[in-house]
């Protein structure tokens, strides 16, 4: 496997993990823009725009876009997060030219009023759908409580109000400002014709705007406290809890992942034995989230309402015990094995490598091969883990609970 990169003033940066033996090729446009880059009056515009990208360009109608993707036999999709918007397609290597031409064309959508109105309905359905699903907006409320005034508190989907009130002109302006050569990467993995890729992308993007799209890092004042959402006839109790974490380029991130794995992995962690194996809770877990300048640990508990108090106390106790007594060598070894094996298995598919490469490039313009990453996990000591626990789980958290109003 070989890492190949290309950057000139004329075009966006191209990053490729070439594997000549692969059966497939994956391509993605990684745009460094997400809900944290939105003004409050257009909350949800990044995600809405991600939908609108498929609604046609100068060269293709929406129907043609969809038909072409299916003609390519592509496994394709798109997603939006707090800090990125990603469009990707996995195809057979002989379809490279057509896939790259299509994906690149999509990045300059027409954004027509009529399509905007129809798609607005789809987004409102999506919001309604998530609002019907557990934990019923608790993640969003917890994020707002925790990040407060910080841009990371903006909801990725926006709200029914912000999406209903949005104008197409606002989206056009957002697109002009954020979808620029300086703010996008073309990432590819698998069996790639690199020379052809560079030529095709360079010529197709020559006319794109080159203005840098700034994102000002801002140190958050992490909020804490508790609040409840009332829901009619909710059967389970849900609690979402956020603690301060570390940023996506902090060296402590390896220790933090191991900490969360030891405490709260799906199988074989402390919370698993305490709450899941015993049938006391349906879910009890912790995971880290990494952003540019900061991060958080997310805790999620789902159980029967009558067990909620006791389970929350158990969760607290698992954390306190870890802070007091640390983590054993054996636990670290097991967690390391689990993480290593899941990274190795995931790395078998070029489509998975695409996301690892793209995310890493967006975060730090750098990519470390799997063996180096495994080495980083191997180097973490029990002290490192205890230290990162002190800086995160020792601090006050923000908690949102979903409480049922009916028996």
């Amino acid at each position: 496997m070989e890492l190949l990169t290309h950057k000139t003033d004329a075009g966006p940066e191209i990053v490729v993990l070439h594997d000549p033996a692969a059966f497939t090729a994956s391509f993605g446009w990684f745009v460094r823009t997400g809900s944290r880059d939105e003004q409050l009056d257009v909350a949800g515009v990044s995600h809405f725009l991600e939908h609108m990208v498929f609604k046609g360009t100068q060269r293709r109608t929406a129907e043609e876009v969809n038909r072409e993707l299916d003609h390519l036999g592509a496994q394709s999709n798109a997603y939006t997060s707090e800090d990125s918007t990603v469009f990707y397609a996995s195809v057979l290597p002989e379809c490279q030219d057509r896939a790259v031409d299509l994906l690149t064309d999509l990045m300059q959508p027409l954004l027509r009023e009529e399509d905007f109105e129809t798609e607005r309905q789809v987004i409102l359905e999506e919001i309604a759908m998530y609002d019907d699903q557990p934990p019923y907006g608790a993640f969003e409320r917890a994020t707002e409580l925790f990040f407060g005034e910080h841009p990371l508190s903006t909801r990725v989907l926006g709200t029914t109000e912000s999406v209903s009130d949005m104008f197409v002109a606002q989206m056009q302006e957002y697109h002009r400002a954020r979808y620029t050569k300086e703010n996008m990467f073309l990432v590819a993995s698998g069996k790639i014709d690199f020379g052809k890729l560079v030529d095709d992308v360079s010529s197709a993007t020559a006319h794109w705007p080159a203005t840098p799209a700034a994102r000002r890092p801002k140190v958050p004042n992490y909020g804490s406290g508790e609040l409840s959402i009332e829901r009619e006839s909710t059967h389970q109790h849900y609690a979402v809890q956020l603690w301060p974490g570390v940023g996506c380029n902090a060296l402590e991130r390896y220790a933090l992942r191991l900490l969360c794995s030891v405490l709260a992995d799906e199988g074989g962690s402390r919370l698993f034995w305490e709450l899941i194996d015993t049938g006391k809770a349906e879910t009890a877990t912790l995971w880290p989230q990494f952003f540019d300048e900061c991060g958080c640990i997310v805790g999620y508990l789902c159980c029967a309402p009558e067990d909620a108090e006791e389970n929350e106390a158990s969760l607290r106790q698992v954390i306190d015990t870890a802070l007091r007594d640390g983590i054993t060598r054996k636990e670290i070894d097991l967690a390391r094995n689990k993480i290593a094996s899941s990274l190795i298995l995931s790395d078998e598919r070029p489509s998975n490598r695409l996301f690892a490469l793209g995310q890493s490039w967006m975060n730090r313009r750098n990519y470390e091969p799997l063996d180096v990453v495994l080495g980083r996990f191997a180097a973490v000591t029990a002290d490192d883990i205890l230290q990162v626990a002190e800086h995160t789980l020792r601090r006050p958290s923000a908690t949102v609970r979903v409480v049922g109003t009916e028996e």
Partner: protein
Amino acid sequence: MDQRLLRHQFDNGLVLLGEHMPWLRSSAFSFLLPAGTCFEPMGLDGLSGMCSEMVQRGAGGLDSRQFLERLDELGVERSSSITTSHSSFSCAMPTEVLATVLGLYSDIVRRPHLPEDQLPDARQLCLQELRALDDEPSHRCFSELKKFRYPLPFGRISQGSKQGLEAIDMPSLNSFFEQNYKPAGCILAVAGNFNWEHLCEVVEQQLGDWRGPELLGMPVLHSNYGSMHVDHATNQTHLALAYDCASYESSEYYEARALVGVLSDGMSSRLFSEVREKRGLVYSVFATCFSMAGQGSVMCYAGTTTNRAEETLQVLLETIHSLDDGITEDELARLKNRIKSSLVFEQESSAARSGQIASDWFYLGRVPDRDEVCARVDGLTCESLLKHFRENLPKNFSLVTVGSQSLELPEGVA
């Protein structure tokens, strides 16, 4: 790429299947036992799931905790699942530990401790999963459709029922284990970078002298039709609609599957464009083929805000019937490309391939290779699809809605 199905039939009924994928670092297996929900005794709904949970609480020389730790040491990604026909265990792992992991799972199916003191915990865990379903209206919608369309024993869901789970005791659990964890009807499918001779030796050693009762026959399935509503306080109404189609075993399954592909595969499919793209009625809409006990059904889903549910159902039905206007060459070409490239994607995953091999063997008693699938797909024409549609017009509809307002099938749809 040379593709060959390796097969070894053990005299106790177990079949071992293998497909070599030497370009991978991993191996994966799917282990299907004939211990699905349709073998649960009356009144003990959820017993297969609870038995699957209990056999994983210690086996052979290891207790529950030691067992999980051993799997983590070995770096095994694992899951277990319950269907109408099977209890199954699936694992993916670095290939060098395959033999060891097969040994551990042989202990699970042959020498579980079934610790009585953990029965209450296992029950609580299963009750949690059942409760979770109540809070997931889109999943619940499909569970209710299964219960409604397929009478007992076929309509049981993997999570069971509250009464069933509460009625399970150690004698019923032990008896289910003894009757259903047996080599007859077992399928062990392995895909990845392994040595076949060595694999056969390992399985012979671990499972060759395994004995158990005969495989039970399945009763005949008579489906149930009509409409049903489940009241649920939600923004959206969730629709699950089913109608008859050719089953996986049928010689015309490819035609039936292709018609569902025209409806639902990809962003240019008819349901996605008519229901979502043109009208913005839903975020999620799809159709899929489902086979059980020799009968096939197309199952469709749409979730929409309640005031637009009736229109959504109408557009859903119209789109299904639009197949009668014919299938275009372009639609068929797109479908063929999608199916063929998905076969290539499958070569990148030992887990996906082992699952497909096990499933093919169960339904067909053989495993079609890529060449055969491609030839069959290439042979599909717009004419053959239209002919199949007209000879097998959608009928025997079942509709289940979950939400705050009920819907009925329109006049003339049955």
